[in-house]
C-alpha cells in the first residue's frame, strides 16, 4: 500500500488573550491508501484541530507549520481556490453534528446534487440521478420520496446518512470523519459503522476517523494514532494498541474504561489534569501526570519504531532512546 496522506512536523498554534495555545505540536504520521485510520484522544488533545488543518479550515488566528502531503500535492502550499476545489472533491469531511454540513431549509437531495455540480460538469438531471443513487446507497429508505425533504424531517441517524452521501458524492479518495457517530444512539451507531465499513470495502475510500470512543476505534479502524495534549504519543495497528499499548497514556486510557471485570469504585484514574496549552510542559506533555516520569521527559521524545508497525514516543522505549541517539537516558538534562 502507498501513503495517501503524509504529515511532517505539523504544529498548530492559536493566538488568544492568554497567549499562544499550542494545540498541535510536531505531529508526523502517514495514512495509507484504503485504510481506516483512527485518531483518538480526549477533549482538547488536538485531534479535531489537526483534521481542520489538513482541510485548510482553520481560522485566521491559527498559525500552522510543517507540511501535509496529500497524494502528490502539498496541501499547505495550495492557493485558497485550489484548496476549495480539493475539499468536497478529493477530500471530504463528516462532522459530529450533521447540521454543521446541511442547510436546514434546502431539500436533502438537492444538497447532495449541488456538491456534485460544484465540482463536476454534469447536467442537473444527471446530478439528480446520481444524488438519488447515493441516498439509496447510504440507506435512506424511499430515496425518491425523501429527495425533497428538508433535513428537519429526518432523524439524526438519517441526517448523518445524508451527510455521508454528500461526502461521497464525488468519490473522494479521503474522508475525514470527526466523531461521526457520537451524537447517535448505539443501535444507529452500529448501522453507520456498518455503512462506513461497507464504503471502504466497495470504494476503497481512505477514512480518517477522529473519535474519543475507544470502542468505535476497536470496531472499525485498521490503525490508530493516540493524541495527548497536542502530541501524537503512539501509532500502531488497532490490535497492538489494545493488546500491547506502550505509551503510559494509552495504557491509562484503556485502564479507565468501565467494564464488568472491575469492581465498582476501582477503575484506574489518571491523576492530575491536562496541562494548560498556553504553557505546556517542555518535552513529553504527559510527563506531569505520568507515573513513570523521569528527568529526561523534559525533552520531547521522538516517535520511534518500537516494532515494525508500532511507533511510540516515550523515553521508556528503547526505540525512542535509540532514535534520539541517546542510549543512556540518565545523561540527558532538562532542556526543552
Amino acid at each position: 500500500m502507498s501513503d495517501l496522506l503524509a504529515l511532517a512536523h505539523v504544529d498548530v498554534g492559536f493566538a488568544t488573550d492568554d497567549g499562544i495555545v499550542s494545540a498541535v505540536s510536531d505531529v508526523s504520521l502517514t495514512v495509507e491508501e484504503g485504510e481506516i485510520f483512527g485518531l483518538v484522544g480526549e477533549s482538547g488533545c488536538g485531534k479535531t484541530t489537526l483534521a481542520m488543518a489538513l482541510m485548510g479550515l482553520l481560522p485566521a488566528s491559527a498559525s500552522v507549520a510543517g507540511s501535509v502531503r496529500f497524494g502528490e500535492r502539498d496541501v499547505f502550499g495550495l492557493s485558497p481556490e485550489d484548496l476549495r476545489q480539493l475539499r468536497g472533491d478529493r477530500i471530504s469531511m463528516i462532522f459530529q453534528d450533521p447540521m454543521t454540513s446541511l442547510d436546514p431549509t434546502f431539500p436533502i437531495g438537492d444538497q447532495v446534487a449541488e456538491t456534485i455540480t460544484a465540482h463536476r460538469d454534469v447536467s442537473k438531471h444527471a446530478a439528480r440521478e446520481r444524488a438519488l443513487a447515493l441516498l439509496a446507497d447510504v440507506g435512506i429508505p424511499e430515496a425518491e420520496r425523501r429527495y425533497d425533504d428538508p433535513p428537519h424531517r429526518l432523524s439524526g441517524g438519517m441526517r448523518q446518512r445524508v451527510v455521508i452521501a454528500t461526502a461521497l458524492a464525488n468519490e473522494p479518495s479521503l474522508v475525514l470523519a470527526d466523531e461521526p457517530t457520537t451524537a447517535l444512539d448505539v443501535t444507529i451507531q452500529s448501522q453507520v459503522l456498518d455503512l462506513l465499513r461497507d464504503l471502504r470495502r466497495r470504494l476503497r475510500t481512505t477514512i480518517v476517523l477522529i473519535t474519543h470512543d475507544l470502542g468505535v476505534v476497536a470496531q472499525i479502524c485498521d490503525r490508530v494514532g493516540v493524541m495527548y495534549a497536542g502530541q501524537l504519543v503512539e501509532v500502531s495497528t488497532v490490535r497492538e494498541i489494545f493488546r500491547n499499548p506502550k505509551h503510559p497514556y494509552t495504557q491509562a486510557l484503556l485502564a479507565a474504561l468501565p467494564s464488568e471485570r472491575q469492581a465498582p469504585g476501582s477503575l484506574r484514574v489518571i491523576g492530575g489534569r491536562v496541562p494548560d496549552l498556553t504553557d505546556p510542559p517542555p518535552g513529553c506533555r504527559f510527563s506531569t501526570r505520568c507515573p513513570y516520569a523521569m528527568d529526561v521527559c523534559a525533552t520531547v521524545p521522538p516517535l520511534a519504531h518500537e516494532t515494525g508497525d508500532h511507533l511510540v514516543a516515550c523515553w521508556l522505549s528503547e526505540a525512542t532512546k535509540a532514535a534520539a541517539g541517546q542510549p543512556d537516558h540518565a545523561s540527558t538534562g532538562g532542556a526543552a
Binding site: 444512539d185 452500529s190 459503522l193 474504561l257 468501565p258 467494564s259 464488568e260 465498582p264
Partner: protein
C-alpha cells in the same frame, strides 16, 4: 397478571420495603405540532413499574425517545405523571405538599449531566453547594460552612474550591461539585440522569469511582439513568431496559447482560462497540429507527424492528414474564420459548 416461573428459581420477596416504588406511571406531553390536531400527544412514559431498595443502584437504560429522562423527572417530582404513582417511603409523592414535599426534596436529590445547568454561574462554589442547606434551613451559618468543606473533601476537592466560580472548573470538577451539592442535605436516594456522559473517559472513571464509593459508604440508593451500556454494567446492581416509554426487561445487571431475554435488549447489547478489536464484529442488530412516540405501534412497541416478531405481537401487548430471580422481560416469543422448555 400471571407470571411464569423459571425452573426451580422462584423469586423470594426481597427483604425490607423499597425506598422508591413506581407503579403504572404514565406521562404524556402535548405535541407542538398543532396541525396534527390537539389530541396528538407524545407517549413519553406509558405504564412503568419498578422499585429501588435502600443501598441499591438501579440503572435505567435506553436510547433517545425511550422515556428514561422523563421517568427520572417524575421520580424527582419535577413533573407530575398523568397516571400512576411514585411512592417514596410508603408515601405517594404526587400528593405531597408543604413539609412532606420539603422532606421528600431533601431526601431525593438530583445529579444532572451538566451540573451547572441548574446553578448560577456567578455564584461561588461554596454557595452553590450549601444552597439546599440554606433553603431547608439546616444548621447554623457556621455549621453550613463546615459542611461545605466536609462535602468538598468527600468528593475529592480541596476546601479552597468553595471560593472559586464555575468557569474556573474543569468538567470533572464541576460534576464533583454537582455531586457535593446533591449530598448536602443527606439524601437517601440520588437520581442521576446521564451523570458521566459529557465527560472524557479518564474523568468519567473518576466520577464513577466516586459514585460507587459514596453509594457504598453512605448506603445511598441511586437511580442511574444512562445510555452507555458499559457504564451501566459497571456500576449498577439491577438494570431496567426501556423502549418507547415501556420497560421491556429488568433484572440483576449480570443476568440482563449475560442472558438477555428481550430481543431489544439483545440488539442493544450486540450494538455495544467493545474496546476489543479481536471480538468479531456483530454488525448492526437492528434496521430502522425508533418509531415516533406520538403514535407508538400496537401490541409490542418493538415489533416493527424486531427480528423475531410474530403475528400476535401486533395485537397483544406482551406481559412481563419471570425468567429467573428478579429477572423479567415482556416478549411473546421469549415467553413461548420458556413455556416450551418448561414442559
Amino acid at each position: 397478571m400471571s407470571q411464569v416461573a423459571f425452573s426451580d428459581e422462584i423469586a423470594p420477596a426481597r427483604p425490607g420495603s423499597p425506598i422508591l416504588r413506581v407503579e403504572g406511571l404514565v406521562k404524556h406531553f402535548p405535541t407542538d405540532r398543532g396541525f396534527l390536531g390537539s389530541d396528538a400527544v407524545v407517549h413519553a412514559v406509558d405504564g412503568v413499574d419498578f422499585e429501588i431498595h435502600p443501598g441499591e443502584v438501579l440503572a435505567v437504560v435506553g436510547e433517545s425517545g425511550s422515556g428514561k429522562s422523563t421517568l427520572a423527572r417524575c421520580a424527582l417530582r419535577l413533573t407530575d405523571p398523568i397516571a400512576g404513582r411514585v411512592v417514596f417511603d410508603d408515601r405517594d409523592v404526587t400528593a405531597l405538599k408543604g413539609r412532606g414535599l420539603a422532606s421528600f426534596r431533601q431526601q431525593v436529590q438530583p445529579v444532572f449531566q451538566d451540573p451547572f445547568s441548574s446553578i448560577d454561574p456567578r455564584w461561588r462554589i461554596g454557595r452553590s453547594i450549601s444552597e439546599s442547606l440554606d433553603a431547608f434551613r439546616i444548621g447554623t451559618k457556621s455549621d453550613r460552612r463546615e459542611r461545605v468543606v466536609e462535602l468538598l473533601d468527600r468528593v475529592g476537592l480541596d476546601p479552597s474550591f468553595a471560593r472559586r466560580r464555575p468557569h474556573e472548573l474543569s468538567g470533572g470538577q464541576r460534576q464533583r461539585v454537582g455531586i457535593a451539592a446533591a449530598l448536602a442535605p443527606d439524601p437517601r436516594l440520588i437520581v442521576a440522569d446521564e451523570p458521566v456522559s459529557a465527560l472524557d473517559v479518564s474523568v468519567q472513571a473518576q466520577v464513577l469511582n466516586l459514585l460507587a464509593e459514596l453509594q457504598r459508604d453512605l448506603g445511598l440508593a441511586i437511580l442511574f439513568v444512562a445510555h452507555d451500556l458499559s457504564v451501566v454494567q459497571h456500576i449498577s446492581h439491577r438494570t431496567a431496559v426501556m423502549y418507547l416509554g415501556k420497560i421491556v426487561e429488568t433484572g440483576p445487571t449480570d443476568r440482563v447482560f449475560r442472558d438477555p431475554r428481550h430481543p431489544y435488549t439483545q440488539a442493544l447489547l450486540q450494538s455495544i462497540p467493545h474496546p476489543d478489536p479481536e471480538r468479531p464484529i456483530a454488525g448492526a442488530a437492528l434496521t430502522g429507527e425508533i418509531p415516533s412516540p406520538i403514535s407508538p405501534p400496537s401490541g409490542c412497541r418493538f415489533r416493527t424492528r424486531c427480528p423475531v416478531a410474530i403475528e400476535r405481537c401486533a395485537t397483544d401487548e406482551p406481559e412481563m414474564t419471570l425468567f429467573g430471580t428478579g429477572h423479567t422481560a415482556a416478549c411473546h416469543v421469549a415467553r413461548a420459548e420458556l413455556e416450551r422448555s418448561a414442559q
